[in-house]
């Protein structure tokens, strides 16, 4: 593998610029003549817009323009769309309400854009935005998903009667019902998955620049997938023709899913630039981020798991209501359906599964994919219920899980997924050993002596990454293909540029991806550059989300490297008068196996470009591209064990230890993988203990700043004990499964299972704040 190849713990190349303040983000971009935009946003959760008076604002110092949604519509800019069509169980298409980039007649959540002010400075734009007079007539609002579906609830969109977007099902209801009726034991739970705000460190931003001379548009934006942004903005929103439109996503400070989607602001900045004749930059402040970034989760479910007399699972049945907010964001419809219910088999052999999902509109920010996207919701449902079942059945949680593990692969679940590889017992064993599970009762007793309630809980998660193949997701309603592209350009001196359609916004691609080329040709990773995030530089790509950049993005690179290697070997074989099958490339040298004949890597590269002596008929140069479309999802899985100590007087929970045993298949850079797991677990613990977006009944967001929205901090977290076991993924050339979301998916049930074990009350919802835990302790008394 070499010092910097596959499997090496190479320090991240990109970190020097990030930690020394050298990163260049959208807000760092400056274009000559650039002006600043501030949005006028609805203070009401639900209101008719009667009048927008911009006169006073237009007269204020520095103001260049005050624009509204009617002007935008008149210029032919289209409404926002959801790109995944879900069909209700009665065969009807989903009920998608119109989402105007700026509301013209009705505002449906607090923070919805109503007008934009462009001025010389941001402060002037802000002053003028305050002077825009919008006359609203308030309407009744609804924020909770179950309430939104009740008869008589305030109605959001004429297209969606009763606020119902779709009523969808998967699996065999009759089989599940029969198994439940015949069961020896059924565990039933009502479970809420709390609503989260993504909170990327860098707020969203957009800089739109229309160049009149060239009739060309450029948008710098905080995107996880700039090519998709360009495609959607040109094909659906009519912002600019694709061939005259460049989207650049430079350094992006975290996304967690929230920067996949195309939001109104980037559309409006581009349009406003053309309309006003100046480049227009908008940068969200933190409260705007809280109000308008797509939120995550927000499910209310009931679940039943049925067991036979041997404690084998016979059926699982779930019924879920999911809140999609005021509008359907780009991939919102897929999250509570194909990314959720298809994972309800967990790690278990379950003969019959049925899940019904209703999604609804509410007067809240749009809800879409957030780290894990559907899979944390599924995992939480299954793993909370399995732990509860073990308690009800009086067997150990490990034993109950073990008994029901899928052990033969491939395994077709009743809900679409075909698991290709895994060893669930290996992860469970590793986690049990690392957590010293067997001696827990001793630790519980010791803690009791100190007045503390100690508990332990586990979670055996499985998830699906690298959503694919394109034809399959297309048949399920996806509006795009989910392949990835790569181009490997070897320079004449042997250094390498890899152009990838993946986008790095914290994942370390500049290092990991370079390791592939280093491994292949024995060149130092410093001579390998990763180019991404610019539609003018990089061929079409699909971007980064769903832990796809390893399994799909790197597989595309691997395929392009195959082609480069084959050509380089032919060039070398020609120069060394050998058969290309006998050529080996290692440590920067190109050799004929079993002889002392060799060339330096750069000599072969140079020869390919001088083309003075290459095989007859060969094209000069050394540059290859590939598009890779996977044959299946990948299925990372593992076991997490959490041990907590609860202070019964205050309800405060301290996580004493957190053990993760993951199977990510082949690992390219273990250090980066561990970092991903650490970050994911931190977010999962955040969801379990601290985070929740609260709206009041009138639709005001109560948690619109860090004064009220509790993020996990270092002192909320223990030092994680992470380890991996490995079963290679058979469906991609590198054997990679994906690691970006596992921590956030697997950890919440482990934490809550530990807390409920500690306090002896199973009835607690996330976030298990000190207040909630204290109240649950009081209730159990």
């Amino acid at each position: 593998m070499g010092m910097e190849g596959i499997g090496a713990r190479v320090a991240r190349k990109e970190d020097k610029r990030f930690i020394t303040g050298g990163g260049r983000y959208t807000d760092d971009m400056v274009v000559p003549g650039m002006k600043h935009a501030v949005f006028v946003r609805s203070p009401h959760a639900h209101a008719s817009i009667r009048k927008i008076n911009t006169k006073a604002a237009e007269a204020m110092p520095g103001v260049i323009g005050v624009l509204n949604g009617k002007q935008l519509k008149a210029d032919g800019i289209g409404n926002l769309i959801c790109g995944w069509a879900i069909t209700s169980k009665d065969g009807s298409p989903m009920n998608m309400g119109a989402w105007e980039p700026m509301a013209t007649s009705t505002a449906r959540f607090v923070g919805e854009a109503v007008a934009i002010v462009v001025a010389d400075t941001q402060a002037q734009a802000r002053d003028a935005a305050e002077a825009v007079e919008v006359t609203y007539k308030e309407k009744k609002a609804v924020t909770e998903p179950v309430a939104a579906l009740k008869k008589g609830a305030p109605q959001l969109h004429p297209e969606a009667e009763g606020n119902l977007i779709y009523d969808w099902e998967i699996g065999d209801q009759a089989a599940a019902d029969k198994a439940i009726a015949d069961a020896a034991h059924v565990t039933r739970m009502e479970i809420t998955n709390n609503r989260l705000v993504p909170n990327a460190m860098e707020p969203r931003a957009a800089l739109g620049h229309y160049d009149k001379a060239e009739d060309h548009y450029t948008c710098w934006t905080t995107s996880q997938n700039p090519h998709v942004a360009r495609l959607v903005m040109s094909a659906f929103y009519n912002v600019a023709p694709e061939n005259k439109f460049r989207v650049i996503a430079p350094d992006v400070g975290g996304g967690f899913g929230s920067k996949i989607f195309i939001y109104p602001e980037e559309i409006i900045c581009l349009w406003a630039s053309k309309r006003t004749g100046v480049p227009v930059k908008w940068v969200a402040d933190r409260t705007e981020s809280f109000m308008t970034d797509a939120h995550g989760r927000d499910h209310v479910s009931t679940i039943e798991i049925a067991f036979d007399k041997d404690n084998k699972i016979t059926a699982l049945k779930a019924d879920t209501v999911a809140n999609l907010g005021a509008y359907m964001s780009l991939f919102s419809s897929s999250v509570p359906t194909y990314l959720y219910a298809t994972l309800l088999s967990g790690q278990y052999n379950i003969p019959a599964i049925h899940c019904n999902v209703r999604t609804c509109y509410t007067n809240t920010a749009p809800v879409d994919a957030y780290r894990g996207a559907g899979r944390p919701e599924a995992c939480y449902l299954v793993e909370r219920t399995m732990e509860t079942a073990a308690r009800e059945l009086g067997v150990s949680p490990a034993e109950l899980r073990s008994k029901n593990f899928i052990t033969e692969f491939p395994h077709q679940t009743p809900v679409i997924m075909a698991y290709d590889a895994g060893d669930f017992q290996a992860s469970l064993d590793a986690a049990m050993k690392a957590s010293k599970y067997d001696s827990f009762e001793r630790r519980r007793k010791a803690a009791a002596k100190n007045g503390k309630l100690r508990g332990i809980g586990m979670s055996c998660y499985i998830e699906a990454c690298g959503i694919a193949p394109s034809a399959a997701v297309g048949s399920l309603g996806a509006g795009v293909g989910l392949w990835e592209s790569a181009e490997v350009r070897v320079n004449a001196v042997g250094s390498i540029e890899i152009l990838t359609g993946s986008h790095s916004h914290g994942q370390g691609h500049e290092t990991t991806f370079a390791q592939l080329a280093s491994d292949r040709f024995g060149v130092p990773i410093d001579s390998v550059s990763i180019v991404h995030g610019d539609t003018d530089k990089v061929q079409m790509g699909m971007g980064t989300y769903g832990s796809r950049s390893g399994a799909v993005g790197m597989s595309a690179i691997e395929k392009a490297l195959d082609k480069v290697e084959a050509k380089a070997k032919k060039v070398a074989a020609h120069l060394l008068e050998a058969d290309d099958k006998d050529i080996v490339i290692e440590n920067g040298e190109v050799k004929v196996a079993g002889t002392d004949k060799k060339l330096q890597w750069f000599e072969v590269c140079l020869s390919a470009y001088t083309a003075h002596n290459i095989p007859e008929g060969m094209e000069p140069g050394l540059k290859e591209s590939a598009f890779y479309d996977p044959t299946n999802f990948t299925f990372p899985a593992g076991c997490y064990i959490c041990e907590v100590e609860v202070d019964p007087e205050t309800g405060d929970t301290e996580i004493i230890q957190f053990v993760a045993a993951d199977d990510f298949g082949k690992i390219i850079n273990p250090m980066i993988v561990e970092g991903q797991v650490h970050g994911g677990i931190a977010q999962g613990i955040g969801q379990a203990l601290l985070e929740c977006a609260h709206y009041d009944s009138g639709g005001e967001l109560l948690t619109a700043s860090y004064m009220d929205y509790a993020m996990p901090r270092a002192d909320n977290l223990p030092s994680f004990a992470v380890s991996t076991t490995e079963t290679a993924c058979p469906s991609n050339p590198l054997g990679i499964k994906g690691c970006g979301e596992a921590g956030a998916i697997g950890s919440p049930p482990a934490v809550i299972n530990a807390i409920t074990d500690a306090i002896g009350n199973n009835n607690i919802a996330m976030p298990a704040t000190s207040q909630a835990v204290w109240a649950a302790i009081q209730a159990a008394k």
Partner: protein, 266 residues
């Protein structure tokens, strides 16, 4: 932030003079609450008069049991003062747990006391220590100084110059932080001095800092955590928000009082 005139006062008299000339002046003494409020456009003074360069307002003097802390002393200075740690370690402990290091190196005791945030730590200490708030005009006892949420006895042209107190025989502070802001969701400062026991509660009362007569009575019998076993604090007049109900805060008052006493006795 709206535009604002900034001026740096050379003396207290200078600060007051500048304030009188302004439309709507605010004194700035660290700015760890005021500046974020201004950045969010929730506060919009016409003038900011910076007190943090006034030499007379700095310094911590400890003479036996008599303590005087200049209003301009930062939380970090209070936390790290060796003489103060000997006379009244509880106030050093309190200061060491305000906000984060940035806040502790900018924020000052005068600024915090003048702002009287209902979840700030210092008001509980001032009341429990029976401190005297000295201004450019008069001396005000802490009992009469704090008037409710963000309300104090200060007049518009009045500037806190120092706070002083006699170190009690015993003092302790315990707080339960809000999980988001890390302000006190409930904090209790207890003292036992020559005039008896005092217990002041911050973060919990719906009208700001207050003394808990119930806890003081229990501790007057025996200044020990065990004296508070079974004490049930009423949830009347306590704050409620998404983080803590009045009942939960009532519970936290009793628990934090116990821990404050244990720390005072340690």
């Amino acid at each position: 932030m709206y535009s604002v005139n900034y001026s740096r006062a050379a003396s207290v008299a200078d600060a007051v003079k500048t304030a009188k000339k302004a439309d709507d002046a605010k004194f700035l003494s660290g700015g760890q609450t005021l500046i974020p409020a201004m950045k969010a456009r929730l506060a919009a003074p016409s003038d900011l008069i910076d007190l943090s360069h006034i030499g007379d307002m700095k310094g911590i003097k400890v003479s036996g049991k008599n303590v005087t802390i200049g209003a301009g002393a930062t939380h970090a200075e209070v936390a790290a003062n060796a003489k103060l740690a000997k006379a009244c370690p509880a106030i050093c402990h309190l200061a060491a747990h305000i906000g984060d290091p940035h806040v502790r190196h900018m924020g000052t005791i005068g600024g915090s006391v003048a702002n009287n945030d209902p979840a700030a730590d210092y008001p509980a200490a001032m009341v429990a220590l029976g401190a005297t708030i000295k201004t450019n005009k008069r001396e005000i006892s802490a009992d009469k100084f704090f008037k409710g949420l963000f309300e104090t006895a200060l007049k518009d042209d009045e500037v806190i110059t120092s706070v002083s107190f006699t170190a009690p025989a015993k003092a302790g502070y315990a707080k339960f932080p809000n999980p988001a802001s890390r302000y006190a969701m409930t904090g209790v400062f207890v003292t036992k001095g020559k005039d008896g026991v005092r217990a002041a509660v911050t973060g919990a009362g719906d009208d700001g800092v207050f003394r808990s007569k119930l806890i003081e009575a229990a501790l007057s019998k025996s200044f020990d955590a065990s004296a508070l076993e079974g004490v049930s604090v009423s949830s009347d007049d306590l704050m409620e928000d998404i983080h803590a109900s009045a009942d939960y805060r009532a519970n936290l008052i009793a628990v934090m009082a116990k821990r404050a006493v244990a720390s005072a006795n340690a």
